[in-house]
Amino acid sequence: MVSKLKLLGIGTAASVIALGAAQAQAQESVSLTIVSWGGAYTASQVRAYHEPWMEKNPHVRIINDDGSANALAGLRAQSQAGNVTWDLVDMLPSDAQLACDEGIILEIDHDAVLAAAPDGTPPTEDFLPGSLGDCFIPQIVYSTVLTFRPDAFPADNQPSSIADLFDVENFPGRRALQDRPGTNLEWALYADGVDPDDIYDVLATPEGVDRAFAKLDTIKDHIIFWTEGAQAPQLLADGEVAFATGYNGRMFDAIEVEGMNAEIIWDGQVVEWDGWVVPAGGRNLDAVMEYLYFATDTQRLADQAKFISYGPARASSAALVGEHADLGIDMAPHMPTAPENYFSPIILDNDFWSDYGDELRERFATWMLQ
């Protein structure tokens, strides 16, 4: 009886110690919820940033949330509720500027919190011109491109330009476009003969907007709209559409990695940044800033290009871009910024979209439903 009690006591003591140890460990360990775009893009971040970081810092666990498509909604809801569960969010610079103005994400002093280039160039000079925002830390430059299925058209009549997207006579078949005005309106004007440099001047006038919508009307009956980045290559792969617009990295992944039968048209590619913002009121601010310092340094940005064909946002990373980690193909020619692809780019104008975006989004939504 006595020995039983003793055993019980020892057992209890042991479990108390074990519990204490577990608690001590739990106190140290941190879970970071990082919000990104999902699919191939998140995968590239996991391999280039998250995995090496967690290897260095075993107490950190990174949870991936594919919420970037609705990032602004999430940030607003969490901030209104005073319950911020996201630690770091990947979003577009135009949305980042809105969130910054609303005060729901932190302002960033780039030189103070980010790593300098290996040669000592401060971040504000190393990141590509015009890419930094008050609250925004750029990661990549990406582009929206037109992609098509070669087998949807005869071999002697393959599309090669944005104008062909709007030519249903010569290039019949359904088209998958994104369900928002950005890129679509620019392309409508470009296909209608507007010079890439003048597009936003024309689009700022009511006549210009009418002209863009009139051009879109010509293909309206042939359009399927997609919402999330991964849907565009999927629609192409399923043969649902002959053309799809999409992010060049996803298209690269679908074509080169998954073996989808499709080709990219670099004509009129719409170029934009993408990057990180830090929600105000997050619980793990120190851990997030440590992670950010690591994940945005020169080497890490160059590493991401091993997994997906987006250009690094630092000048110092460009020289380090090498071959695809799994396929061994040279990544440089697949970058949006490669000279042979960068012949008629349209640079997405975030100032324009923050001024006119709501009006155009509303009109576009109405147009889609009619």
């Binding site: 602004l72 901030s79 609303e102 399923d238 923050s354 439903l369 009619q370």
Partner: protein, 433 residues
């Protein structure tokens, strides 16, 4: 409970003068009965109370709170108290005078004193932008420059953004400078305020929600009718079969009913895609060419076909339970009295199935009018319904007030239907399986 019963044992009906009756304790029987009755009421209520509390807290309250957002309008009042006061005498014509701009400056400066998380100009910019495009950039851009402004403020503001010279912006500030607003409902009904403050209909090209409500209703009617057209024959067939065979065939109805919604939706994607089973079969049989594959999904056809399939069991089950109870002898009697089969069916059988048709019809209609998942996955653009638009305003356009207004209108519609359904058949008569 046992005590109350003991008290009730001396039945008042057994005697001619019930008011004199007393229990063994000497309490008048009427009082004892009343007390027992009250105790039983409280006991019954206590059984229900935990669930009632749970549903009220985690279901009814959140929805009421969401509906409140459709009229809640704190942003302007909070951000521009001095401006609103200065604007009180303004008649809505031309631009307000210098005192208003000075008050605006003071409001902006006061806001900058607040901690960043409590600043009011961010929400103000978002709020005004729902009413007037580019109002957001007017506010945020001005907020960044405002501490450098000097009197006269009117010129300083007009220089910082063109919108400050637009009387429309000032009319909106004046109109929305109240804690409650109707503007979300105005927008949800495809209406807007004109410069005199009257509610007018929008231009034809900018009406979205009313046509979408109409489309949602038409689609739901079409789906309800299709489920009826398909459900009636099989429910009838099941009801005339011997029980053993009926139970067996019932599996065809119950298996889809119990199968995950997403499984059934993916099944339809597999079948209807351009490279899917049906198109491939048609191509293989030579009915259509390889380049003539039919677009059956990501459009209205996709929504109607998939939703009819998903909701068919909800029509068959109530129809079947009603038809089972109709004696076959009625039809035989009608026939033997000389009615043709058609007349017998129309005049004798069909009227008796009406309660089942009503129950199934209202049920299918209620479910389909608020459907979200299937239209979102297979509906494309032409198969969108009002729920998809509510989700879009919740997650993408972030106009939560408008989402709440649209949601409240949908909810009221559904509740009216539910009330009708209750009147017709009673809510607790719902049966599954």
């Amino acid at each position: 409970m046992a005590q109350a019963d003991a008290g009730a044992l001396a039945s008042p009906a057994a005697t001619g003068r019930p008011e004199r009756l007393r229990t063994a304790d000497g309490v008048p029987l009427k009082a004892a009965l009343r007390r027992a009755e009250r105790r039983r009421k409280i006991a019954a209520f206590f059984l229900v109370a935990p669930l009632l509390f749970f549903i009220l807290t985690f279901f009814v309250f959140p929805i009421a709170q969401m509906m409140w957002r459709s009229v809640d309008n704190p942003q302007v009042v909070r951000a521009l108290p001095q401006t609103l006061e200065a604007l009180q005498g303004w008649d809505g014509e031309g631009l307000p005078g210098e005192p208003v701009f000075a008050a605006l400056h003071a409001d902006f400066m006061a806001d900058m004193e607040r901690p960043r998380a409590e600043q009011a100009t961010g929400p103000l910019a978002v709020r005004l932008n729902y009413e007037l495009s580019a109002a957001r950039s007017a506010i945020t851009r001005t907020a960044r420059q405002v501490d450098g402004f000097t009197a006269p403020y009117r010129e300083a503001f007009l220089d910082s953004h063109r919108l400050w010279g637009d009387p429309e912006l000032w009319r909106i500030i004046q109109r929305e400078g109240r804690p409650l607003t109707t503007s979300y409902y105005v927008a949800a009904l495809d209406r807007e305020f004109d410069s005199a403050g009257n509610v007018v209909q929008r231009d034809e090209g900018r009406r979205i929600y009313v046509p979408l409500f109409i489309r949602t209703i038409l689609l739901s009617v079409a789906i309800t009718f299709l489920t009826f057209a398909l459900g009636f024959p099989i429910a009838y067939y099941l009801s005339i079969l011997p029980m053993r065979y009926a139970s067996l065939l019932m599996i065809c109805v119950l298996l889809p009913f119990w199968t995950s919604l997403l499984v059934r939706t993916s099944a339809w994607i597999v079948l209807l895609q351009q490279q899917g089973v049906i198109n491939s079969a048609l191509v293989a049989m030579g009915i259509i060419g390889d380049d003539g594959r039919i677009a059956m999904i990501y459009n209205m056809t996709g929504t109607i076909v998939a939703m009819t399939h998903i909701l068919l069991p909800f029509m068959v089950l109530p129809l079947y339970s009603v038809m089972r109870t109709i004696p076959p002898s009625y039809m035989r009697a009608a026939r033997s009295l000389g009615a043709t089969p058609w007349t017998a069916f129309r005049r004798v059988y069909f009227p008796q199935t009406l309660p089942g048709i009503g129950a199934g019809g209202v049920l299918v209609f209620i479910i389909s009018i608020g459907y979200y998942i299937t239209p979102a996955l297979v509906g494309g653009q032409s198969g969108r319904m009002i729920s998809n638009e509510i989700a879009r305003h919740m997650q993408q356009s972030l106009n939560w007030g408008l989402a709440a207004a649209l949601g409240s209108m949908l909810l009221v519609g559904v509740l009216v239907l539910y009330w009708l359904y209750n009147r017709l058949v009673g809510a607790d008569s719902l049966k599954f399986g």
